[in-house]
Structure formats: structure tokens, C-alpha cells
Symmetry: none
Subunit: 411 residues, 2 copies
Amino acid sequence: MKGIFVIADGLGGRPTDLNGNTCLEAAETPYLDALATRGALGLVDPIGPGIRPGSDTAHLSLLGYDPFKVYTGRGVFECLGMGMDVQAGDICFRANFASVESSAEGLRLLDRRAGRISEGQNELEDALRALSVPGAEIEFLASTQHRGALRIRGEGLSRFIGETDPHEVGTVLLASRPTQDVPGADKTADIVNQMTQQSFEILRDLPLNKKRVAAGQLPANVLLVRGAANCPVLPSIESVIGARGAVIAGGALYRGVAEACGMDYIPVQGATGGLDTNIKAKAAAILRTLEDYDYVFCHLKGTDNAGHDKNAADKKAFIERMDSELFKVLIERVDWGRTHLAFTGDHCTPIDYGDHTVDPVPVLFVGPNIPRDPGTTFGERVAGQGGLGRFSGRVLPMLLGYCNWAPKFGS
Amino acid sequence: MKGIFVIADGLGGRPTDLNGNTCLEAAETPYLDALATRGALGLVDPIGPGIRPGSDTAHLSLLGYDPFKVYTGRGVFECLGMGMDVQAGDICFRANFASVESSAEGLRLLDRRAGRISEGQNELEDALRALSVPGAEIEFLASTQHRGALRIRGEGLSRFIGETDPHEVGTVLLASRPTQDVPGADKTADIVNQMTQQSFEILRDLPLNKKRVAAGQLPANVLLVRGAANCPVLPSIESVIGARGAVIAGGALYRGVAEACGMDYIPVQGATGGLDTNIKAKAAAILRTLEDYDYVFCHLKGTDNAGHDKNAADKKAFIERMDSELFKVLIERVDWGRTHLAFTGDHCTPIDYGDHTVDPVPVLFVGPNIPRDPGTTFGERVAGQGGLGRFSGRVLPMLLGYCNWAPKFGS
């Protein structure tokens, strides 16, 4: 038995999306409807009822972990998702290029995203290889636009330190400070503060920044860090459940979470983590990967991006493109006699609100061991009538259980 | 108000059982259907969504305990279920008669079940009263066929030791070894190893075994142990909820779990823990016991046995016999104005898989305080549409709550 777990980020919506219908309900999805007709629906609270999920915590929960126990922060998944080596004791951060100017009070913030810089990040990344603080080994990798990931390795470090981003233009950068009175926090905050100052000294006079300023653009002349996190100690899904899995995802965060759970990363050409992602290539990669693995986890981000942009048309169109470019392919090409599929979102991102909400998310299971529901469409309201009822997280362990992979607890 | 809690072990199934229907859906059950018509249905995850239950852990959870907190192993319920006295500090095991031969490397396994010995176990049990290891008081009781339970009592023992069963014919018995570096584990493993050797010395020359060998049968000449467990510290259901209960069960494990929760054991003639159990006698015992207790918990095992044997006809027939020999009697004889019934399974044992699975189990509640569903049958799919929704464990506390027994948490 093989398992396919598809998450469309921020899939769920609200009746305010489109005149009483959610984007999912309004979308024309003949292939999802066909899957719903032969499967069963339900509602999943990604973490728990009344808990508003982040994407990282929701993914941990849906993959079978308790985020209240294992989650320390986003930084580590950003680093893992960039392919960085992360070990116990390392402290990881989400790191942004930003624009600052020197002032008597300190580095004054001009823009938190360095004018949403869109090229030349490799030059910045190369220059930042010179970062060197005593007692610390520092690695930074740029990802998309102003985004990047930073890892600090050293003896006796602590994640209990504050961020340097003041979040308000015109104010000076924050000095990182211990947030708890624990060993190593002073030392780590000090390393972060030295690193921040040094990043300014390294970046300010780079040719790229001189060109940007000459062209009337903001310079990318400092690194801001947040989301300090340890490497979580997650027993791999394979060690707990026995099944070997792989992840297909454009966004670094999702790759990072899945790799932290022990999945192998399958790179896919054109998987951008955006609305323009190559869904057909992902569908082909799912089929290919299933030949070598017990299950595949495929993440699509476009639904969430459209939700954050409050763009109902884009969200609906992305769902329709998933239908015709992913689910159509799966219906036609998967061996449904020996495959189970679960499809859901990691949270709702309704159009009107433009951010994650607490609402439960519709979930669909299809496969030979799933009792069929009477319903014939997939959407929020019909899922509330579904035969799977409502449950919290753990969609992947359920999916693998239907594939007969689950370990028995007790005897 | 009186409560009746019936568990049919492994009740749940899958659409693969019988051409798209589960055994429960396919069974002709006019009396269960009548109860469903006047009651409400739902789905219960015996332990939690996506967790594949053992019978012992599932029962603890359905009776209101958190098995992740209280479960240490199967052995203690086997001992309790044999009526043995178990105290804090005792280490309990599931123990099997097996067949071995002496070799230079140690005792070599010939058969893990002593040729499924079916008579003479009392003679073996009597002989094993001679077991004597310094620092330990050892008690063994034989149950059915090759099965038995063993209790070791002494100062400073630990359950963190490995089993002696090599599971593979032709290999030598394992020496029990500590599985964690904790006080007492070395000592306990040593006691188990001495006991194992001694059991061989006691049993090998017994007249029974000489007769077996002469008749071409395998001797029952050693004890294998597994499932090392402590006595769990369970507050009794009576102390927590106030209601006094009794258990009717053929299988030792279920009696053991219920007694550990503080229920009194009601022996019933013909309750075998198998497909041939006397269901009519159990029904009569429920009615009789209800006169003296606030609630009765009745366990039937046949559904699970048939599931493990992958025998759909037997499972369906056992459900139909429960219908006509148990539920018919309850419908006719119970005072439904002042009685609530809950009926479910402790897990699914689908025919195709032949073992416990993660799927949720249908549950039925009937009684004056239960809001009626529109449904008129009892089965997996209709339970997915049921008015009780989907929840995890704790069926007995819910049942007793409908009987107005539940303690208030807070004020």
C-alpha cells in the first residue's frame, strides 16, 4: 500500500470569501469531486479546536507530532529547508536582508525587506561568508528576495534570546537580549549582536549596494534575525511508523519540517512555492517518487499566498489548477487498488481576513480501506457532514494506518 | 439509573470485508437496528485519531484512563485476569509453555507454544510451584492451552527487562537483559534467567512430558516470558465517578483490566473468550448483575478472533448471534426508562488485514437521556453520520455521565 498526502497551504476559507461560498466551494473541481464521491470527508483542526495554527506548527501536528512538545521556533525549519546541516546545540534563525543607516543611537531601520530586493542576493551571501565572531561558527544562506536562514554553532548556546528586528521604520535595531535567565542566553545574544554589527560593516560598501543606492534603491546592508530555535529532537516517521517517505515542496519551511521528520527531499524543477508553481511537474514527481517510497508528502503554497493577498480569484483559480493538473493526473495514473490519498490544508486563510484563522479545515481520504460517504463534492460545508467526523491533527499517521503501516500501542 | 457497557472486541471493519460492506454492516441485526433507531451513533477513536490500539491500551482508554500515562505492559492484566494478587512493586509477565532441547549454546527452541498443548497444564502448574530463586517469590498460573501468567515479587525489582522468547524456532532462548539503565533491572533480569533455567529442570522429566514425547508430541518443558509490567496505580472508577461496577468477560486480559479499574468479577459458566462463548449466559448475567451494581461491563471476544482468522463469515455470524442472544434479551428485559447502554468495539479487526487497525470504531448509545438520531441501523458508515460525532476514548465515563454519575470538574 502506498500513501499520498497533499497539503494545499491555507486551503480552507470562509463564507465571506465569495458571496456565501468559500473559494474551495466556488471552484470548479470535477476531479476533486470524483475523489470525494469515492472517498470520505471530515473536518480537521490542524492542531486542536480553537487553536490558530502557524504553518510550521500545523505541519508538525498533521505529520503526527505534538507541536506543544517539540516546537521551539521557525528558524530551524528555515535552515533545514535551505539544505543546511543542523545539529543538536545549533541555534537557527529566520534572517532578512534589511536597509539601515548609521546614527548616533545605533543602526536606524529604513526598510525591513531591503526594498524587497530581487537580485544580487548571491553576492551578499558570498560576502557574508566573512562573518566571524569568537566562539561561534556562523552560516548564512539567502533564499528568495530578502529572505534567508542563519545558523550559529558553538558551545553552550541558547535559543532564549530576543530578535533584532524593531519592526518599525525610523527606530534603531534592537539589541538581542536573553528572554529567560538560562545558561548560554547572554553569550548567544552577544554573538547575535556582534554578528548584526558585522553584517552591516561587511555589506554597506559592497558594489551591489553602491549600485542600488545610485539607482535610487534601498541598500541591503544588514541582517535582521528572528525565530531563534533549536534543532528539535523528532523521532523520524520511519522509526515510529516504519514507512519511508519523501517530500515535494517549493517552500523551504515545508521541506525543512518534512526533513526534520525524516523524509527525503525530492527537488522538482519549477516548484516555486508560489502561485506560478509547476503543478504538473509536482504531479509527475509524486508518481515517480511513489515507485521508491512508501508515501509522498506534496505541499502546494499558492492557496495560502492568494489568501494572504486577499485575492479570491487567484485562490479559486489555483484550486482549479490543482484540480486539472494534479488530481486529474492522480485519478488517471494512480493504482487505486493499493493507494490511499489524504488531501487537506494546514489551516484556513480566508480572503476577508488575509491570514491564518482557527476554523477547522476540510479533509478528504480516498482508498480501498476508506468507507464511502454519500457526498459528491469537496468543500467546507459538505466536509462538516462527512463520515470521518472531526478530529485534531495526525492526518499522516491516519493515512499510513489505512495503508496498514501503524505500530500497535499495547498488545 | 443503571449502565450497560458492551464491548465486542475488534468489532469494526472495512469496506473490504464483504464486497463493500463491513461485517457489521452486512450482518442481519434487527435488535441492534431497533436500538439504533431509539438511540444515537458516533465514531470513537479508542485511544486517539491515528493511533493503532492494542486491546489492553484501548480498554484502559475506553474505561476512562490515559494509557500513555498508566500503561506499562500486558503482563499485569494477564496476572490480574487469572485472579492473582498483584501489588505495587510486583513484576508481571505473560508466560507461555514452550518446547526446547538442551544444546551446547543453551536451550534451543523447538516450538513457541509447546505444540499448542491442550491438556495436562494443571500438572505443569503444580510442578512449577517448586520454582525458587533467592530474593524472589514466584507464582505461575496456567490459563488456556500454552498460555499463563507469571508474577515475581521481591525488593527493588524493575520491569525494564527484555523477553526470553527468541520468536524463531532453532535459535536458543534469549537471556533477559535490562532494557534501560535503571535500578533493579539487572537483578530482575537475573531472576528471570534463573527462573527460566529452573523451569526447564523442573518440567523436562515430568511424567506428562515423557508421555507427550512417547506419543510423538512436543514436550512443554520451559516457560517463556514477555510483556514485563508493573501493577498500574489506577484510581478506581468508583473512587473517581462514584458508580460501582462489575465485569463479565471470558478472556483473562479483559477481566484483568477491569479489575485493575476496581470492577468486581462476575464468573459466567460457558464464557470462553472465544467464538463458542455462551452469549445467552452472559445476557442473563448482565441482567442479574445490574440488580446489585450501578453498571456492568460485558466483553465479547468472538468478533476479534474471527477478524484475526480473516474469517468474515464467522465474524458476521458472531455479530448476528450477539444480536439475537444478547441485544434481543436486553431490549425485552431491561427497564429502558432508567437504563443507558453503550455498545462499541475496542478497535477494528478488518478481515483483509487480520489485525487491529487505526480506523475509528462505531459506537451506539441508547437511553432516556440520549438525543435520538434519524438513523435506523448500526454500522460504520451510518455511525459516521451519527449525532454523537467523533471523539476519543472515555466511553464508560460518558455512559455513566448520561446516568448522571459523573463528578463535576470545577464548580
